[in-house]
């Protein structure tokens, strides 16, 4: 079993389990939509959105919904101790991490597939004016968030206070992702899109991804051995 085939197998299993239960996708979506409705009441005045608010609303919603999804995905592995079964397999444990990361990222992108059009509709945000750049920001930002989140959620899977600890650990580390996403999106939403600035933020997000995916690959095995 190669590294890549193990990771693919684990990610496919996570998506199959989710396709059967649809628990993560429904709860994350409901939460994301509720979040946006609250923002819509708070940040829209006389039919106009506060400048640059759409980008912030989008990324905060993604972060909150992502935390919910991460908690639930690893709760599932904890309930029947299947995470232990994965760690017992004769495969590189880093491949298990990559598989879980890919599964989390896939679900996060699925949620974004609904949330992004809703932001466009509710806040009249021209997110698809530069589709390629926007998709790049979403993909790089979500990958960074999922990379850190998967590591922390796996480490906390057996902790009693994991529900409280995950956001406490995750949000400070992923602040650069949220800032990068918000500022990059704001650059694209200007009347004359600032593509140079958007590219700078995208590069920062890609650098963050490279650093944290590498760190997670190094630390996953020791972190999972009790």
């Amino acid at each position: 079993m190669t590294f890549l085939s193990t990771a693919t197998l684990v990610a496919r299993k996570d998506l199959l389990v989710e396709a059967r239960s649809r628990e993560v996708i429904y709860t994350s979506l409901l939460f994301a939509i509720s979040c946006m409705l609250v923002f819509a009441f708070g940040l829209v005045k006389d039919g106009r959105v506060i400048a640059d608010a759409a980008g912030a609303i989008l990324w905060i919603t993604i972060a909150f919904a992502g935390t919910l999804a991460l908690s639930r995905i690893f709760d599932r592995e904890r309930q029947n101790e299947t995470l232990r079964a994965l760690l017992l397999a004769p495969t590189p444990r880093a491949a298990i991490y990559v598989g879980k990361f890919a599964g989390v990222l896939g679900l996060l992108l699925l949620v974004e597939g609904i949330v992004v059009p809703l932001v466009v509709l509710m806040f009249d945000a021209q997110l698809f004016r530069h589709t390629g750049w926007m998709l790049g920001l979403l993909l790089a930002g979500s990958a960074g968030y999922a990379a850190v989140g998967t590591l922390f959620a796996a480490m906390l899977a057996r902790s009693r206070s994991r529900g409280a600890l995950l956001p406490v650990l995750l949000y400070p580390i992923t602040v650069p992702v949220i800032i990068g996403g918000v500022r990059g999106t704001a650059a694209l939403l200007q009347p004359e899109a600032d593509l140079v600035l958007a590219r700078a933020w995208l590069m920062m997000l890609i650098a963050f991804d490279a650093v944290f995916i590498t760190l997670s690959l190094w630390t996953f095995e020791p972190a999972m051995t009790e």
Partner: protein, 232 residues
């Protein structure tokens, strides 16, 4: 990799200030079924987790033949099968999907053939495509045992394997373990159902507050000797 013995040498494990295991030493050899007896919280599951390479000993050493857990890596994990108190199966997936997933994860050949054989052995051939969430505890237990045996491990670690099993299933499990012993397997199990393993085990050890002692020899059933030893 392969090995013919599992040896614990002065294994201790602490969780913070609590000592779960204290200088545990004993060995299990190929072709033996050995029971770990003890009250709840005596350290049995901790010892199994250490043997499974899921937990590291605070001090002391576990050897699989000549190899340690750290040195054995993935090759060693391939030779170990574990049935935990929690069953290590995904309730959203069917029994066949669970077995197929773990078969591929272990890099086994002829996965479909092994899955069909495992479903037959678990008496789940007619329910193999149903989600595990719809199974009774006994059915899940039988499936979990087959999952642990799918890759034909040398070392089998069983935590309360008789939980939820009816008489025919319990009998089948005893037959399965006896067969494994004949094939040179190393079986280390914990159970409170001492009558079920009376004729099966080659040796038994008692854990009391993290310390291990061999079960006393003499007349009487396993349970009588166990009670005698614990109450002494």
């Amino acid at each position: 990799m392969d090995f013919t013995s599992l040896t614990f040498s002065n294994v201790s494990r602490h969780f913070g200030r609590r000592r779960a295991l204290s200088s545990v030493s004993f060995a299990v050899h190929a072709g033996q079924v050995v029971a770990l007896l003890g009250a709840n919280g005596s350290g049995k599951s901790t010892l199994l987790s250490i043997a499974a390479t899921l937990l590291e000993a605070s001090s002391g050493e576990v050897r699989y033949g000549e190899v340690t857990a750290r040195g054995g890596g993935a090759g060693l994990r391939r030779a170990i099968g574990v049935l935990g108190h929690d069953l290590y199966v995904y309730p959203e997936l069917s029994a066949a999907e669970n077995l197929r997933f773990f078969g591929h994860l272990y890099g086994l050949d002829k996965v479909e053939h092994r899955v069909a054989a495992a479903l037959g052995a678990a008496a789940l051939a007619d329910r193999g495509d149903d989600p595990v969430a719809t199974y009774s505890r006994g059915m899940r237990q039988r499936l979990a045992l087959e999952r642990a045996l799918l890759h034909e491990p040398r070392l089998l670690l069983l935590d309360e394997p008789f939980t939820g099993l009816d008489d025919p299933s319990s009998l089948a499990l005893r037959g399965r373990l006896a067969h494994l012993r004949e094939r040179g397997g190393i079986v280390l199990l914990t159970t409170h159902e001492l009558e079920a393993i009376e004729t099966l085990v080659d040796a038994a050890y008692v854990l009391v507050r993290g310390r291990v002692q061999p079960l006393i020899n003499g007349a009487g059933s396993l349970r009588e000797r166990y009670r005698q030893q614990v109450e002494a």
